[in-house]
Symmetry: C3
Subunit: 374 residues, 3 copies
């Protein structure tokens, strides 16, 4: 039983010389990515309740498995019900499972389920460091299966190019009964990305353009422009994001319009976002950060010509946070954070789609750790 | 892709000096907690069937991740379908995921999903060593998210205090349509616990008092008094447990009363339990243990004043077991066990709620191991 | 919390002397079994679509945990939704979780969920090396819970004998409303297996006979005869398989007959299969393999005496593959494969059961790796 269905010399599934165990142990890490908090929630100013929650728990294994040549990464959430997805065949809880190969110092390839390499610093951070995402990252399909090519260009510039499945579910599962739209035979996402670094890291950029085929003749285009200024004790990050959906893949607008008005997924939606994060390391072991963000959503596909205004809502967010790192040797921080959200609807949205302004607040006190435990 | 969404020096998610890998490997263990058996079942004396089953399989990682200061524990079941719970956001299969910090030799803190620190030796044992729980432990929510404070007092006494979520599901999910009861805004459990040790471990105590807010003005109170006498070759453990539910959180009574009589969760239930375990190490590598247990359940909330008797049933249990440890170096035992249960209903329960006496039996032959495999 | 519900000296769940950590690390491996590909699908000659998919991802931990005496294996799929099975109590995603003991050089025992030790080289290969299974292995319940006894006989012969649960689900779950059939009280599978090796490995055999009690007086008998000729650069494997179901456990025939004709699981079905695999190592690091396979299915249980022909269909399969192993030290291969299937129905099946001939094709390009990462 120990050897049943495993490696067989004859089929050459076993390497001729095996990689040294000690070397693997040194180069592979097992990490428990955790965000734990006591969350207190407010709706339009009224306290609605509190709870303790493991807001995030993603178990991760990653590292080099063959010298400097072959790398591997696996990350799985215990905060999402695992259900096999029909397109890529992997549990929904699995963020990443891929193998990569460094062809040289300059070029590498990776294959498997991975992070779509969208630009912007908001999406590049470890998710446990995010207290709340803006609308696009929150609602997009961020972990997709496919292939990546990376070029480490001279002068600390990096370019990546990905071909990925457009999503993890089938067209029919996502857009049940979408009228007059035909599914694509190979719904794919093409993501191009530039990571730039200038003046010894003082200024960095992280820009991407993505073209995603959602259905036959229905594309999603997504531009994300991340910019960072690193002034030692102060770090400033600014992302601009623009997404244009022929078919509303993001689903925010489709979720807002009442089903009685629009029974199907909306056509022609636009999302425009700004995200600014300032971090100040005001004392050893202490950081204060403030995030300000805004997301505008538009529906240009309303067939009723009497409705001329395509602006649906402006979602504001402000997130001040205090962070404390008690240990020199361990990546663990305690934090206190407030997440304020304000949803302002256009007059058209209020009168035509029956939507109302609202605001939510959340006080979070807890800890965050990408805890290396093996 | 290897570094996407992971640690970033700038955001100081990476430690200045990392803990030595060899030290972590020495201090962290990976354990497969298993109880495997061939189970043969009997109902009221008749043989009903047999099967092989992995009765329990809980994978566990635990240990010190920073010297003697920071500890970590994660335990996940492969014998329970993982479904994210709405209150604490973690898969139902996850027993524990917490981080703890030793503030000094005397004080420590822990945060995350953990064992509710209820007293009693029955609940303190590794679940794989239990062949069948008595009613309270079997039906209670034992793994909850929150915080624990521990005081290692002088003379081998230990006191712990916990604040936890009252449960993992919301009020609406558990008590659908409960009439005239309002959900609490912060349904919390407060657990206080005393572990005592006297006469060099000859006598130990493990007592707790818990106050759990189930709903607005509906509390659960739970007292568990564990006592142990350790006479070298003979070990005697006796638990007394008393639970008083304003709203029947345990659910045993609510499950017994026919839905036609009581469509909702019962109000005012009481549970009183005794649990006695005697273990005799009669030869090297051999143990014999006997457990005797009894659980009485009461429903004081019946509004029909004609029903004066609130006693519902007495559930008896007797579990004789023979255990054999073949290996000196490995914690693995083979066992043969019989689980006899006898359910005796009160006359009122028989006539008013249409319940009938019954008995079940189970013969189990198998192995148990908290197998350390990394 | 670190020690709650874990080992306790008193209950002797902790070994007297613990196995050395370094020794465990040396003897236990953690393996990510992966098959990743871009799949392009064809139906009756027409292109129907493409996608990237992690066709297989099975995480595995295995090795000796106590010198040469106690071994352990655990394999879990992230490509199957985990749901606890009612008979063996383990998640459906778990292929194996067992503990084994070498009683001597000659005899060993294993207990837990394991591979049913069916013969044939098709089933013995690591599943990631299989691009598509023939009907029997594809549809059988291959991972069952029970016990195995192994005898390493002289002259490189090995005999195994297993007693296993017949399945992971109950009779009622599988055969809802089966008329006039009574469930068995202990539905068990008995599997006997012979692995032979002759002329220094030039010729090998892998034969098994299995008797599976599906229901009271309803048996499944399964014979699998695997044969292998190893001519250094060329490897030839041929399996003959024959399965006879009193009650159609395999379900292929029951799935083909329209529900309007047969509302329940079919009685008396037969399956006969041939599977031939030729592998040619035509250059260092390069293999070419061709698999040819055919599966015939019969329904002898049709009560309509007017239907005299019991042959339902012949399913053909041909799978040519090119494989490339770029690394000497790592078990990773890139592959390009074509899977052609052709389904030919008998005239009776066409006229009586309204079935039509069809064919499917799949082009796969990807990588396969049992990646050892710890």
């Amino acid at each position: 039983q120990l050897h049943k269905q495993s490696d067989s010399l004859i089929n050459r599934a076993k390497p001729i010389i095996s990689v040294d165990k000690a070397k693997i142990l040194q180069n592979v890490n097992v990490i428990a990515n955790m965000q734990y908090a006591n969350n207190s929630n407010f709706q339009d100013g009224d306290y609605t309740g509190s709870n303790f929650a493991m807001n995030q728990f993603r178990l991760e294994v990653k590292g080099m498995v063959l010298d400097n040549t072959v790398f591997f990464r696996f990350r799985d959430r215990y905060t999402r019900t695992p259900t096999v997805q029909s397109v890529d065949n992997v549990d929904h809880s699995v963020d990443m499972i891929f193998v990569g190969i460094n062809l040289s110092d300059k070029f590498s390839l990776a294959f498997g389920k991975m992070c779509a390499d969208y630009g912007g610093y908001e999406f590049d951070m470890n998710p446990i460091d995010i207290y709340e995402y803006n609308d696009i990252v929150e609602n997009a399909d961020n972990f997709l299966t496919g292939a990546q090519f990376t070029w480490n260009a001279p002068k600390e510039q990096q370019f990546t190019f990905q071909v990925l499945n457009a999503r993890t579910k089938t067209f029919d599962e996502l857009y049940d009964n979408a009228p007059d739209i035909e599914a694509a035979k190979f719904p794919a996402a093409f993501v191009g990305n530039w990571r730039g670094s200038f003046a010894k890291g003082l200024l960095s950029t992280f820009w991407s353009y993505s073209l995603i085929t959602e259905a036959s003749e229905k594309q999603v285009q997504y531009i994300a422009l991340g910019n960072q200024l690193n002034l030692k004790k102060v770090l400033i990050q600014y992302d601009f994001k623009y997404m244009k959906d022929d078919l509303d893949r993001l689903g925010v607008v489709s979720g807002l319009i009442p089903e009685s008005y629009l029974p199907n997924t909306a056509l022609k939606t636009d999302y425009i976002e700004h995200w600014l994060r300032v971090q100040y390391n005001f004392a050893p072991k202490w950081n204060v950060t403030v995030i300000g963000m805004v997301s505008d959503s538009y529906w240009k596909g309303n067939l009723d010509t009497a409705v001329s205004n395509d602006h649906i809502r402006t979602a504001w967010g402000v997130i001040p946070t205090l962070e404390f790192y008690p240990f020199k040797q361990l990546n663990l921080k305690f934090f206190a954070s407030y997440i304020g959200r304000d949803y302002k609807y256009s007059n058209t949205a209020k009168t035509t789609y029956d939507l109302n302004d609202s605001s939510t607040g959340q006080v979070m006190v807890g800890f965050i750790a990408p805890l290396k435990f093996l």
